[in-house]
């Protein structure tokens, strides 16, 4: 059964894209899983880190991005004339990031582009999910579908939460992180109120972790407010190797990062698989 997750936090700069990209790559390369990442952020950071510049340009010239999903397919509600909705073919959107030569493991991406932010302006009526694209047949093609979300509460957040109905929340343990906890809870509560869907919290992951007193104190506040099962015990330490890896458009285990940093990512992935 396909597992879906929105990687989300209302605060920017917490490592959402880094986590999404490394998680997707790990599952595909090291666990032989079939992974689809949808970049739902108009800033397109997941697209930048996952693609080669020339190949991405070629993709834009001949194929579609996630923005096109919203241009060509939306539901209508109330007294609004229903436009003719064309069929969406996943192949038109896919960018191949990784494909194993010896196993089923693969990492596909539906890229984003800046135009997505313009599309948002006209999205007052919907669509509210990606079901037109992620049909049951499409879902069967993947073990994991991950949505990298923008750090704002917008129609795209609604789309993500309705589509995946589960969230993975990267968080930095500082005073902003504690505030972000309150915001995330508010977003999830509002979503339940608006759509009757209470997304499953796969977990809160502490990013850029330093075993320092202020982080321990702030993380205590976060642990106290979420149920313990919803806070990952594995943490991603603060280290420059993620920045180095992102710059080279690769993952941390393809860098010279110390064994302890790679091991902690192993631990995180194992915990993610168990919780997702």
């Amino acid at each position: 059964m396909t597992k879906l997750a929105s990687i989300i936090n209302m605060k920017g700069g917490v490592g959402k894209t880094t986590l999404t990209f490394n998680l997707a790559s790990y599952l595909a390369e090291l666990n032989d899983q079939r992974v689809l990442v949808i970049d739902l952020d108009p800033q397109a950071n997941a697209t930048v880190v996952s693609t080669e510049e020339d190949k991405y340009k070629a993709h834009l010239a001949s194929k579609k991005t996630v923005a096109d999903v919203f241009v060509h397919a939306y539901k209508t509600y109330g007294p609004v004339r229903s436009p003719k909705v064309g069929d969406l073919d996943l192949k038109d959107f896919l960018y191949e990031v990784y494909k194993s030569k010896s196993s089923n493991g693969r990492f596909d991406l539906i890229p984003s582009e800046l135009m997505l932010s313009s599309v948002l302006k006209g999205m007052t009526l919907g669509p509210y999910d990606l079901d037109k694209l992620l049909t049951p047949q499409v879902r069967q093609q993947y073990d994991y579908i991950l949505l990298d979300c923008a750090p704002t509460n917008s129609s795209l957040t609604t789309v993500a939460l309705n589509t995946t109905q589960s969230v993975l929340i990267p968080m930095i343990s500082d005073s902003f992180g504690a505030h972000g906890t309150a915001l995330m809870k508010q977003v999830l509560d509002e979503h339940k109120y608006d759509y009757g869907i209470s997304p499953k919290v796969i977990g809160v992951v502490f990013m850029m972790w330093e075993n320092q007193e202020n982080q321990i104190t702030q993380s205590n506040e976060i642990i106290k407010s979420w149920t313990p099962g919803a806070v990952f015990r594995s943490r991603i330490s603060k280290n420059n190797w993620y920045r180095v890896a992102n710059g080279k458009r690769t993952t941390i285990w393809h860098t010279a990062a110390g064994r302890e940093y790679k091991r902690e990512f192993d631990n995180f992935v194992n915990e993610f698989i168990a919780k997702a």
Partner: protein, 193 residues
């Protein structure tokens, strides 16, 4: 005087590299020394400084006696617990921490936690203990509002763990709870009482 200035210079250099906790202790020490130096600079015959020097001598004698005698268990446990936690928090834990340390410190830890229990929000207490012990929070209705029962519930879970898991759980418990005002306040009050 030259030696004194050199010593202060070395002290200031060292101060910059210290953790907050060590820096505070170092500042206390140097303030005390500065006070003593001010006193001894005064003529010995002046009544006030000599009487203060006498107070200092008595204090130091008392502390020396205490240090040489077997320490009472409460301050020792408090200091060990604080020391242990600070080493963990400041990344300076050099020796290997093992089950014997847990056996020595855990009973005192749980005693402090139980005493601090009424000061906690029951839900938050349960969440943080469950997280540290890698378990689910209790769903027992009878426990939900009784903090002492919550502490005993998780203490039983802790005691049932094998040595290795007990040790890793105790490290997590110490790191997290010694940052919490109810626990820290109770720990201090139990020693000064």
């Amino acid at each position: 005087m030259y030696r004194l200035n050199a010593a202060f210079s070395r002290y200031e250099q060292a101060l910059r590299t210290l953790s907050d906790v060590d820096r505070e202790a170092a500042i206390d020490l140097i303030s005390s020394l500065a006070g003593v130096i001010e006193l001894v600079k005064e003529p010995i015959g002046v009544a006030q400084p000599s009487s203060e020097l006498k107070v200092i001598r008595n204090y130091l004698t008392k502390k020396l006696t205490e240090a040489r005698s077997p320490a009472s268990s409460k301050p020792e446990s408090r200091d060990l617990l604080n020391h242990f936690r600070n080493e963990l928090a400041h990344g300076k834990f050099h020796r290997k921490y093992g089950p014997n340390d847990t056996k020595r410190l855990a009973p005192f830890f749980w005693k402090v936690l139980e005493k601090s229990a009424p000061q906690w929000n029951p839900h938050e207490l349960s969440n943080i203990l469950a997280y540290c012990l890698h378990t689910s929070p209790s769903t027992n209705e009878n426990l939900s509002s009784d903090q002492k029962k919550i502490v005993r519930f998780y203490k039983a879970i802790f005691n049932a763990l094998d040595e290795d898991r007990q040790t890793s759980a105790f490290i997590e418990l110490t790191l997290r709870l010694l940052s919490e005002p109810p626990f820290k306040g109770t720990l201090d009050s139990m020693v000064s009482a």
